[in-house]
Symmetry: none
Subunit: 216 residues, 4 copies
DNA sequence: TATGAATGAGATTTCATTCAT
DNA sequence: CATGAATGAAATCTCATTCAT
């Protein structure tokens, strides 16, 4: 019910613009206030400072993304590590997978500005390493997946570096999407292709490792 | 020996440290000078300003990388688009490819700090979009490759978005390497795996497209 | 009363002093702020920078002077180019002339500091050639006057150089007044003498030209 | 016999250029040295500093001008205060007068740059009030002239302010010449006209004063 | 003669932040 | 709620000058 004061709204809007144009560091609170038609004092009534203003834009979308991601990957883990998955993957599972990927992309495009800021304009703010956080999150799921698969196929191992890199690529894929494709529908299409490639890569990597291990 | 004044050397060293720690924008010339044990005036004797100081560290390594990259990919283009490549790829050609990839990685690790700055700490400087430059360079090669392959197999096409993404991933791979693996030998190993994955992905993507086209 | 903040007033006062003592270029904003008892930041709240601070002191007086000058000379032009003026000049017209000259001198002395700055201390600021502007303004009137008189007495011509010089002298007369006579009443007296001399010189110059032309 | 080192010569030439372009204050010794192709150290071998470098350009021409001026006006004084001058002035005396005025103008145009600097670009240097010095010099002559004439015609007085103004105008005439007429021959022509006007004004001013005194 | 490195003090400007009202 | 004035610290940069070599 917080009546979301008009001033606060204007401030947030101007802030988005300024942060997007100049990045966190170069952004000037003065300009934001001027653009919003209020004084600096007003800004400090609603926000604690520059950092807090930035957070007000990006925190909630990021938290939601984190939740979504956790869910998405915990699903993936159960699916991909299900007995017999490796023989038949990319058949029925794809639907489930895609639908969740779509949810992620959808969330990101619903909060386009926020994620743009978060993923490409946060240098200097306390969110500057939020990418790392996401990567870590994903990597954790990857690790679990790998562990479960290894439990079934003992020769199946992915080295740590590659695992981390895959996680990174996963996040980078979102960033790339955001910065290169403004249309959500097309974005979902691209993401599908990319995820296919990633999943296949992941599988093959494991198989190769297997073969390598086998040939020793 | 008067060619490389001791002071200039100290200045460059301190600058590297400060830029690495705080990034281009937040870096303070005062601190750099203080750390080097000279006055700010001294800095301005050797460099034209902050931008020039940064450039003094990163420009030459970047230029060399660009050259190396051009050569590397022009080789790749001729190899990969050679008749019959798709049937037998990843056999003898790999050696050639690896050796050049090694050269790239070697160059990057020889100038570790410079590339760290360039690829992750340049925001605010005129090098802030050097990543885009590299991506573009690589993409150009990718396009040529794709065109040549398309000339041989008319159904073979990669959509523009994926091509750009592959180029980006290629650069991101270097960045990831730099930020996560400080040992050059291991880095070369990782890079080999990644490049394999990338090349395979590239090929499959084309084959898939072919199949898709065929099924229409 | 909040229209003219005390601090701003103090700043302007200190600025006047500093600019007068050291001229625009040598003047130090630091000293101005120190003298006004505020920090440099305060100055930048009220003014955009050094140039703007200077302008805040001199612009409005200069603009007014320009208006006054235009009016003064447009009156002069109509009077001096009236039929029969040359035979009876310096009789009743002088009053009109003097009264306006008085207005000019009055305006200048009302803004003593501003004109002092403008005419003798503006080197380095964007007002540094304001003297030229005034000369040009006056010269334009002179030219019109000369043209009208020439229309009545076809042989009547003043060469360009002398016309420009007269205009310059006119402005120089004001500068000289300002720098050498601080008492406005006395200044008005001096100005009367000088203007008489200038008008007479102007007339004679024309008569001489006439004679010269006649003797050809 | 001082072999006038080539370096010194180059330095002076570059200094003239820089001072003319930017004025004393804005002029940069660094730029002067760079333009001359030497280092700052060299400059400090030949000159004591910025002030001394400027003086090296302007001092000697100024001293000579002072001498010339003294002579010119001491001649004028004797001529103009000769018994019966006022009845017959502007006849034979004109020749004498013109010849000396020509000498002055010639000297100034022979040292065009130096006087340009001295009269219009010296703000900030110790020569910044050299104009006042010249005015004072001339005024002294004027005063003597006026005194001598007053001795002959007791009613003949020029008030102090006007005397000073005339002196100023005299110098201003030179400045104006320098800044508006680069051709010496034409300059001499202009100067003739101006001096005629000045002398006539001077005489008439005295006559008016006489009349004014008489009418009391 | 001249170099080239270095000084050190000063310049203007920017900015997030605070606080009395 | 919001203003608007003011802070204070830091930023980059410029310059005449000095001095060991």
């Amino acid at each position: 019910m917080k009546s979301d004061s008009e001033t606060k709204e204007k401030l947030l809007k101007s802030a988005k613009k300024e942060f997007l144009e100049n990045g966190y560091m170069k952004a000037s609170l003065r300009k934001i206030c001027a653009d919003a038609g209020v004084t600096t004092g007003a800004l400090y009534f609603f926000f604690e400072g520059k950092e807090d203003l930035f957070a007000a834009i990006v925190k909630s979308p990021l938290d939601t993304l984190t939740e979504l991601l956790k869910k998405h990957f915990s699903d993936d883990v159960s699916v991909m590590s299900a007995p017999g998955f490796m023989e038949k993957f990319s058949i029925e599972t794809d639907k489930e997978h895609d639908s969740l990927g779509t949810t992620l992309v959808h969330h990101i495009y619903q909060n386009y500005d926020a994620f743009m800021l978060l993923l490409t304009k946060a240098q200097g703010s306390k969110f500057e390493s939020c990418v790392d956080g996401l990567v870590e999150l994903i990597e954790k799921s990857y690790k679990e997946m790998a562990d479960r698969m290894a439990a079934q196929n003992p020769d199946c191992q992915v080295n740590e570096y590659m695992r981390h890199w895959f996680a990174h690529m996963n996040v980078d894929a979102f960033i790339h999407l955001l910065t290169h494709e403004s249309d959500e529908q097309k974005a979902i299409g691209h993401m599908g292709q990319i995820m296919d490639y990633l999943v296949k890569g992941w599988m093959e990597m494991i198989l190769i490792q297997e073969k390598e291990s086998a040939s020793k």
